[in-house]
């Protein structure tokens, strides 16, 4: 068991390393002159040479890579090109803002989605299942900014229940902050609940197709009992995977949502970084998001192993 966990952890680290190589390749080695990209057209050769030296572009790529990776690993995220401020100082508060938004959304979305998914599976192919299926399909299909714009239009402008923008007062108490963020949280919740609901339904129905369920049906057990007692324990590990996978939608959801509500989080900072072509900043935040993504999948793997005895003893 411990050996298995250690192996998963090692695998997670390996994935992170591959991700770091790709981040580096994607931002620095792709064709195109980074220095010119940063400064734009019509600059002097001295300025170009100057920025190349600051970026370390005069050194070969692999040395720059190890330098950068070493910095990342030790918490030195580098200096922003656009502002000249240390990136770790720029990130500070924003990191926690994003965490707050994402956690609050996940805490609401996960139980809601599992419940709806179970309801859809228990009453599969009935009207309520069809209703959940079509509604979630619509929410999957529409862009996050549409959900956001609609919520603002109806709840903030027409009904005036909530503020239309997400002003953050870091001194405000927990509930005051939560209240200010109701619309962004609602947007994210809508965006990820739909996916999770549908996949939970599929996972449960998948288990339902195994022979031992047929046995339970033949035994005369009720549909309700079959799902909760027979199917759910075995569906637990796929459901956990589904949840982790969909929390990853939080990442893309967060990028758009923060921009709509002008919420000072990491994703908004990253988008600003992309606009200014602030490569070190984009790399650093990109790595943080990827680490969160890989970490979530790792946690899901481990929970799935704990939830499923068969995975604990691999052949």
């Amino acid at each position: 068991m411990l050996k298995l966990l250690a192996r998963r952890l090692a695998l997670g680290l390996l994935v992170m390393w591959v991700v770091s190589v790709l981040v580096f390749v994607a931002t620095e080695i792709l064709p195109g002159d980074v220095a010119r990209a940063v400064l734009g057209q019509g600059v002097t050769e001295e300025a170009l040479a100057n920025i190349r030296e600051r970026l370390g572009l005069d050194q070969p790529a692999y040395i720059r890579y190890f330098h950068w990776l070493g910095g990342m690993a030790t918490g030195d995220l580098g200096t922003s090109l656009a502002t000249g401020i240390r990136i770790s100082d720029m990130i500070g508060d924003r990191f926690w803002n994003t965490m707050f938004l994402a956690t609050a959304s996940a805490v609401i979305a996960v139980p809601l989605a599992v419940m709806l998914g179970l309801v859809a599976a228990i009453w599969a192919e009935t009207l309520i299942d069809r209703f959940i299926s079509i509604t979630t399909l619509c929410f999957i299909s529409v862009p996050e900014f549409f959900i956001a714009a609609l919520l603002v239009f109806v709840l903030a402008v027409q009904l005036q229940w909530f503020p239309p923008l997400a002003f953050v007062d870091t001194n405000a108490g927990f509930f005051a902050r939560l209240e200010a963020l109701i619309l962004p949280i609602a947007t994210l919740t809508f965006a990820i609940t739909a996916h999770m609901t549908r996949m939970t339904r599929t996972a449960v129905l998948n288990v339902l197709s195994s022979p031992y369920i047929e046995q339970a049906i033949l035994k005369g057990a009720s549909r309700f009992r079959i799902i909760l007692r027979h199917a759910l324990p075995n569906a637990l590990s796929p459901i956990i995977n589904v949840i982790a996978l969909n929390l990853a939608y939080l990442v893309s959801g967060v990028v758009v949502t923060e921009s709509v509500f002008n919420y000072p989080g990491l994703a908004l900072l990253m988008v600003e970084g992309v606009a200014y072509r602030d490569i070190p900043l984009v790399q650093a935040i990109g790595m943080i998001f990827c680490a969160a993504y890989v970490g979530l999948n790792l946690v899901a793997d481990i929970l799935a192993i704990i939830a499923n005895p068969r995975l604990r003893h691999p052949r």
């Binding site: 994935v15 591959v18 991700v19 790709l22 994607a26 931002t27 195109g32 980074v34 990209a37 599969a124 192919e125 299926s133 079509i134 399909l137 619509c138 999957i140 299909s141 529409v142 862009p143 900014f145 549409f146 714009a149 609609l150 603002v152 239009f153 903030a156 402008v157 027409q158 239309p164 923008l165 996916h195 549908r198 996949m199 599929t202 996972a203 129905l205 998948n206 339902l208 369920i213 049906i217 796929p238 995977n241 996978l245 990853a248 990442v251 893309s252 990028v255 758009v256 709509v260 990253m270 988008v271 992309v274 606009a275 072509r277 602030d278 490569i279 984009v282 990109g286 990827c290 993504y293």
Partner: protein
């Protein structure tokens, strides 16, 4: 994830799905709604600019964010341009870009996926591992990073989205082709001495057509959403072009005081993607194929 066949095992009976092709495609209400919406937008994309009352960049009035019905048919945007005309023009840009992107990602993804499955061995291994590595990224983050490095221009945005999307197509195409390539008729073709291309085009492609067709619809909506998100962030299509994502971005400041000029293009995108997904949902129910959410990732 699971390659589950979405049907209720408690109810469905085993039975032949073949030989009922004609009755299979009965239009359900869901199918009707989907086809109507998508058909409407296709007509708009083709003929919209011909019937638009104003050009896409004409400033209609000096009032920005005029409400519906006061200036123009659907009000004006932040520069006082006609929202109605810009939505008509935008259909072509938004749908055209997404279509090009999807065609590209499909060509790349399915060709490579089929090759990986047919060739097998280390070719498959290398291709699959590289694919896994790219898929280890949240796609929008990867897209943002590539755009930082290469700058934002239309060809780069289209290519970036297409490559990221192609990884999903690759995985599906490879999995489908794997299933088919162990069938007896493929063995027979191999024994006959047919080449890789022949086997791919004549044996594998026809037998993977219906899941791939559904996947095309899903990837198309994904491309619309991805490009629209980038445009909304100011990194995709650039103003003054009339594109629905750009329109949402330009007018986003109006949202908080109730202007509809950002809501309408967002609703246009939403209706189009919902429409396509309804068609895919209907189609999958007809052919009894893989569920949409299994492939959506």
């Amino acid at each position: 994830m699971t390659d589950a066949i979405e049907k209720d095992p408690l109810k469905s009976a085993p039975g032949s799905k073949q030989g009922r092709a004609a009755s299979k495609f009965r239009l359900t209400p869901v199918g009707w709604v989907g086809i109507t919406i998508v058909g409407f937008w296709i007509l708009v994309a083709l003929f919209g600019p011909l019937v638009a009352p104003h050009a896409e960049s004409d400033v209609l009035s000096n009032r920005s964010f005029a409400p519906i019905g006061e200036v123009g048919r659907l009000g004006t945007d932040y520069l006082g341009r006609d929202v109605f005309s810009r939505i008509l023009y935008g259909a072509r840009m938004t749908m055209g870009l997404a279509l090009i992107t999807t065609l590209l990602s499909f060509t790349m993804g399915s060709t490579l996926g089929f090759m990986a499955a047919v060739l097998g061995g280390w070719t498959d291994n290398v291709m699959s591992r590289v694919n896994d590595a790219v898929m280890a990224f949240p796609s929008i983050i990867l897209g943002l990073m590539v755009i930082t490095a290469l700058g934002s221009s239309l060809p780069i945005v289209v290519l970036t989205v297409a490559v990221i999307d192609a990884t999903r197509v690759f995985r599906l195409a490879r999995a489908l082709a794997m299933d088919v390539s162990v069938m007896d008729f493929v063995d027979v073709a191999r024994a006959r001495g047919e080449g890789v291309w022949w086997i791919t085009l004549r044996e594998i492609l026809p037998n993977t057509m219906s899941p791939l067709a559904a996947e095309f619809g899903i990837r198309f909506t994904y491309a619309i959403l991805f490009i629209a998100a980038l445009s909304f962030l100011g990194l995709g299509v650039q103003p003054p072009a009339a594109d629905w994502g750009v329109m949402v971005r330009e007018n986003r400041l109006g949202i908080s005081f109730g202007a509809t000029s950002a809501l309408l293009p967002a609703a246009a995108i939403a209706s189009l993607t919902v429409g396509v997904n309804l068609i895919v949902d209907w189609y999958l129910r007809c052919v009894g194929g893989q569920s949409a959410e299994d492939m959506l990732k």
